[in-house]
């Protein structure tokens, strides 16, 4: 029996838009086990991003339970929650969200700074990462000087540097051409083999196929 990383029970997310209550996620139930590579699929507005944000603790469910590594996230304080995701979760975004003012090297290094890791250790870790992704030659460039695929590569490197258990990727290839997409997806598959759990949100059937499990969302419900 594989270990459960997280489990979501009867989770709901609503927002108030004017006087209307809009339900973004409606009584979601699912578990994520060690070693999984999950693809969330569904049309725009079906709640994929919201679900990812809630899992990543950037957003909260308004109702229901969320347990991460046996800890009840729904009843946690903000501070502990941020400690938890800092430790175990890495994010990859469609728009890469690299910090424009920092070089490739510095972008990758930033999460380590917030974890208070020593300088020498940081250097070694970033160097490893650059090596692994074959971007040593680009370490002093700024994000604007890179192609979309390269930027996303840096984005993934940054997500991985903290050695997370879980990577949440929101349309990671949405801004890339098909060749670049393929490379990124291959990379995810490789990472998954090495033991990183991945949850990605995607529109594309072919990308979804990389996953070990596909969850379909429609109007905030799992179908």
């Amino acid at each position: 029996m594989k270990n459960t990383l997280l489990s979501i029970n009867e989770a709901t997310r609503t927002v108030n838009s004017g006087s209307n209550k809009v339900t973004l996620l409606d009584t979601i139930n699912f578990n994520v086990e060690e070693g999984e590579f999950i693809s969330l699929m569904g049309p725009s507005g079906s709640g994929k991003s919201t679900l990812l944000n809630c899992i990543g603790m950037l957003d909260n469910f308004t109702d229901g339970g969320y347990t991460f590594l046996g800890e009840p996230v729904h009843s946690m304080k903000e501070k502990n929650r941020s400690k938890l995701y800092k430790e175990y979760i890495g994010f990859v975004f469609q728009a890469y969200h690299l910090i424009d003012e920092l070089t490739v090297y510095e972008n990758i290094e930033t999460p380590l700074l917030y974890k208070n890791i020593k300088s020498s250790e940081r250097k070694a870790m970033v160097a490893d990462m650059l090596d692994r992704f074959n971007i040593v030659g680009k370490k002093d460039l700024f994000p604007i000087q890179l192609s979309g695929g390269q930027q996303q590569l840096v984005g993934i490197a940054r997500a991985l540097i903290g050695q997370p258990k879980l990577i949440l990727a929101d349309e990671p290839t949405g801004n890339l051409n098909s060749k670049q997409s393929e490379e990124i997806m291959e990379l995810f598959a490789q990472l998954n083999k090495e033991g990183v759990i991945i949850i990605q949100a995607t529109h594309s059937e072919s990308n979804a196929a990389y996953g070990s499990r596909i969850i379909n969302l429609l109007d905030g419900k799992i179908v």
């Binding site: 950037l58 501070k79 969200h97 910090i99 003012e101 920092l102 290094e109 999460p111 940054r158």
Partner: protein, 805 residues
């Protein structure tokens, strides 16, 4: 971590270099000027603070009941000081003090020396340390002289000064004095200034010998050191018997004439004025008023200017934060907490502030010499270098960075992660803050501008007012040579007689306005007339005085050419005539102790004192052989410069060793307005800086707003808005702020300025136009500032602005 912050801070500042530059320029100017102004204010406030016993030293003055209510009087009589020390407990030390200028001769050198005549206690009370010679009792003897290091250097050069003999001109004789001690050059924050110190008894006959034992001749100041156990109030109370004893006559007369007693129910009371207040005391308007308004006003202006620059910084930081939302969101996702983000953004602010403060200090250093000349001050940056003051300065700078840099940082660090990742910023609440800060900025600017305009108006009014005498054609100068005054005038008349451009020559013992030598004196005479006490200013004049100054005789006649025949005649002004209240003024007489004088003429009132005072009763005497002090020469109106040169040449031929310190009377009047002019320059430059800084802020805001509304402008143009409609749309919001600022600031300015004008007996009427002008200037400058950007935005091609979306 820290390195990372610094790096990103520099990159960010560089990326937004327009705004960084606007901020740095604004803050640098503000810090530079604020440092200079604060230095000036601190310098003014630190006057006379260097005396070790300063807290125990007081100037003694009396509050007398007079015709016009309570009048403060600092002049004291010869026996007063000694009697006070003997008869009233609590006087630790006491000294009389009289200042004047003397002519000192050493070998073939003749030098004018500022002189303080004091009693021996002087050096024990005041901290003028003796560095050489007799440190105990340097002026015990009446033939001793003490001088400052600087004066000794001027007289003796490198020679040893102690034991040298110099001669000083007194009552037309050279009197020898021996140098007994040298005092350290005192700090330039001393309001007592002198080159040499002599024993009080070494004064000339007129100032000392004839006053011995007389309680009715008051011609010097008295300073005393209070015993440590005695409170000043307590001491003032305990002098009642002393005053009753020595001023019985005056008190009885005041009662008889029905004058109002002072707050303690006394008609004459001894009072103590703390040494530190002496410089800020005003005796011109009845009771003493101690006012430190000027230095505090200057300090206030410096704070306002800093405030304006900081508002710019806050507004720009908040507005620019919209562009950094993604970074904030991303950093939060990567695990940054609020505290870390706060310190990152605050750190960036501190960087800007540090650069600005550094440049500001540099600016202050560069501007210092100009500042010193412009405001005729000796204040230097060293004034600020005292430990406790430095601490205050550093703390206030920290506080400023904490608020101006910290507030935007706090706002940014508090943003929600998802919200900022999506780039959404809730701007509604913050616009209120921005708008009120901008209203405040422009309010301050308008306040300062209208202050400058009113001040300038009043000074112009005082400068150009018809004072009742001819101030354009008359040159006045002090009779500062070796000859006695009558001889000097006689020679001057003879020399100038045949010069075509000289109209007439006269002399008097008072000066109108303030001469180049900066010395002034008034004599006030009190006597009984028809059973009432009457007071009048006493001016002794030479022949042709009335003609030279073009005074108007409204009744009777002027003095005769042959002045000797008029030695028992007086001419009075209207105020005096009114006070004497006679039916036939020309038949009335003035009965003084020594003689009876007949009133032979009445002249129209003229402003012989400054314009902050009403014209007081005044009497002109034609006494023979009196100390006349100042010559007046009326010249023809053509070629005034040539006339001045002629008068100068004449004086130089009569007194080759004396400096010619002549100036036209209108220059003298101008000199009395120095204080007001300093204020105008201060407030004026403050207001210019305030409006420039406010406009820098406005400019930055217009840049940002235009950028933010680019799409809106594009859409509006596509649906048919004209260029002018869009310009008005963009300008309107800002102008609204300036108008609100005007509505708030004007009443405050009106109130403050009318209060200030109360200080002047002769003043302008405030009218609405001054304030409208100030508001108009602000609106106009504001409009010009934003016009560039808004018109450019309004004329740009809408397709371009929409394509970027």
């Amino acid at each position: 971590m820290f390195k990372n912050y610094i790096k990103i801070a520099f990159r960010n500042l560089w990326k937004n270099r327009t705004f960084t530059a606007l901020n740095v320029v604004g803050l640098t100017a503000a810090f530079g000027v604020a440092i200079l102004l604060a230095m000036y204010a601190v310098f003014q406030l630190s006057f006379d603070r260097f005396h070790e016993h300063g807290d125990e030293i007081y100037q003694v003055y009396t509050e007398d009941s007079g015709l016009n209510g309570i009048e403060a009087n600092i002049s004291k009589s010869e026996p007063f000081a000694a009697a006070l020390k003997d008869e009233v407990a609590g006087v630790e030390k006491i000294t009389r003090y009289n200042g004047s200028g003397v002519l000192l001769t050493y070998q073939d050198k003749q030098l004018g020396m500022g002189t303080a005549y004091v009693d021996p206690d002087f050096f024990e009370m005041f901290s003028f340390p003796i560095v050489k010679g007799d440190t105990k009792n340097p002026i015990m003897s009446e033939s001793s002289v003490v001088m400052t290091e600087l004066a000794a250097k001027r007289i003796f050069g490198d020679e040893e000064p102690i034991g040298q003999t110099v001669s000083i001109l007194r009552d037309e004789q050279q009197v020898p004095f021996t140098v007994t001690a040298i005092v350290e050059d005192f700090p330039n924050t001393s309001s007592m200034g002198f080159d040499i110190v002599l024993n009080f008894k070494s004064q000339n006959e007129h100032a000392y010998a004839r006053t011995i034992g007389r309680w009715d001749m008051e011609n010097h100041e008295v300073y005393m050191q209070l015993a440590e156990s005695v409170q000043p109030k307590q001491f003032e109370k305990s002098t009642t018997d002393f005053t009753q004893l020595h001023y019985k006559n005056e008190i009885d007369n005041a009662k008889r004439d029905g004058f109002q007693p002072n707050a303690d129910g006394l008609y004459r009371q001894l009072k103590l004025l703390p040494l530190a207040d002496v410089r800020f005391a005003n005796f011109n308007q009845g009771p003493v008023t101690v006012s430190r308004t000027m230095p505090y006003l200057v300090l206030g202006i410096s704070i306002l200017i800093l405030f304006i620059a900081c508002v710019n910084f806050i507004n720009m930081s908040i507005a620019k934060s919209a562009q950094r939302l993604r970074e904030i969101g991303m950093r939060k996702t990567l695990g940054a907490n609020k505290k870390q983000l706060f310190f990152q953004f605050w750190g960036e602010s501190i960087l800007v502030f540090l650069i600005s403060i550094g440049l500001g200090i540099l600016l202050a250093v560069v501007l210092l010499p100009y500042f010193q000349t412009l405001f005729k001050t000796q204040a230097s940056l060293a004034t600020l270098l005292n430990p406790s003051l430095l601490l205050v300065l550093i703390l206030s700078v920290l506080l400023i960075t904490l608020i101006a840099g910290g507030y935007p940082a706090l706002l940014m660090s508090r943003l929600g992660t998802l919200q900022s990742l999506k780039g959404k910023l809730d701007v509604n609440g913050k616009n209120h803050l921005r708008n009120s800060l901008m209203v405040l900025q422009f309010g301050i600017a308008i306040l300062l501008i209208s202050g400058t305009l009113v001040l300038w108006d009043q000074v112009e009014f005082m400068r150009t007012k018809d004072l009742g005498f001819n101030k354009d054609q008359v040159i006045a100068f002090p009779l500062n040579g070796q000859l006695n005054d009558q001889q000097a005038i006689e020679l001057l008349r003879n020399t100038l007689q045949d010069k075509p451009n000289i109209v007439s020559v006269t002399a008097s013992n008072n000066i109108l306005g303030l001469g180049k030598d900066g010395s002034r004196s008034t004599s006030v005479l009190g006597f009984e007339h028809q059973g009432r006490g009457v007071e009048t200013h006493m001016v002794v004049v030479d022949a042709d005085y009335i003609e030279t100054l073009d005074l108007n005789i409204i009744e009777g006649r002027s003095f005769r050419k042959n002045l000797a025949s008029d030695s028992l005649s007086v001419i009075i002004n209207e105020a005096m005539a009114k006070q004497m209240n006679e039916d036939d003024i020309l038949a009335s007489q003035i009965d003084l102790d020594d003689a009876v004088y007949s009133v032979v003429g009445v002249i129209k009132d003229f402003n012989f004192q400054e314009l902050d005072q009403n014209i007081a009763p005044m009497t002109l005497f034609a006494l023979p052989n009196w100390n006349l002090r100042n010559a007046y020469v009326k010249v023809s109106s053509q070629n005034l410069e040539q006339a001045y040169t002629d008068v100068k040449a004449a004086w130089n031929s009569i007194e080759p060793n004396a400096e010619f310190q002549g100036s036209f009377l209108n220059e003298n009047i101008d000199r009395t307005l120095r204080h007001e002019r300093t204020m105008i320059t201060m407030i004026g430059s403050g207001s210019i800086l305030a409006i420039i800084l406010s406009c820098i802020g406005l400019f930055a805001m217009s840049l940002l707003i235009v950028a933010q509304r680019k799409k809106e402008i594009g859409v509006r143009k596509i649906v048919g808005a004209s260029v002018s409609a869009i310009t008005i749309l963009l300008t309107k919001d800002f102008l609204k702020l300036v108008v609100i600022a005007f509505l708030i600031a004007s009443p405050i300015a009106w109130w403050a300025m009318s209060k200030w004008l109360q200080n002047y007996a002769y003043r302008i009427e405030l009218n609405i136009w001054i304030f409208l002008a100030a508001g108009g200037i602000a609106v106009l400058i504001a409009m010009l500032t934003i016009a560039v950007k808004t018109i450019k935005a309004a004329t740009s091609n809408p397709v371009e602005s929409l394509r970027t979306e």
